[in-house]
Symmetry: C2
Subunit: 139 residues, 2 copies
Amino acid sequence: MRYLHTMVRVTDVEASLRFYRDALGLELLSRRDFPQGRYTLVFLAAPGDHAAQVELTHNWDPETYTGGRNFGHLAYQVDDIYAACQRLRDHGVTINRPPRDGRMAFVRSPDGISIELLQAGSAKPPAEPWASMPNTGAW
Amino acid sequence: MRYLHTMVRVTDVEASLRFYRDALGLELLSRRDFPQGRYTLVFLAAPGDHAAQVELTHNWDPETYTGGRNFGHLAYQVDDIYAACQRLRDHGVTINRPPRDGRMAFVRSPDGISIELLQAGSAKPPAEPWASMPNTGAW
């Protein structure tokens, strides 16, 4: 038995690729359109960790994607949490829970999926602009 | 960068262990109570695939955990989808989408988290009671 993926629904494939691929740093593994079913499936994974994937489902007929409390978040370990958060910021992503402790951060996808980032190994020394950055919203 | 876990919130740790561990077949990796924060964290993973985990968060102060459409499901590959579904059934879990095709099934956790099971390798030949079992509810 092995874990394959977590599937989340997305309203906009391009906006989601900017978030999951360009800003978060996942690799795009595949993207397939299914005209008969009117949906698109996108698979991404962390570079070098292709076994554990995230599947984005885009239904072509618009739906409203609100969150529910039973789902919490997806968590990824990163080599440099400050670099990861800077790249997210450079792509216009709000760092809801900045890594003030050099260890943990939370952001949200365009559809409100909460993503946790955890520093690999020990926490990094506190550093600006993160150390004095307040929380924004919920995550 | 690597995937760590998907976190879901659970109303009842024991009921969730019966589902995720006993019925679904994940291994319990750790369970820690945090009395000061009034929550319990449980980590599970597929046997032999401990890197990709699911984290159950149980907040001791009751909350209502409804689902949201932006989260889809967690997917696991299994060696024998009929045996996996039989074990779930033996634990009282409804097979919402039975593996009529010998390939894919969906169930829900006690808190409504959708779980997809996929047969490893090629589909198994159709077999009863699955082949003639209707869908139940949504997943």
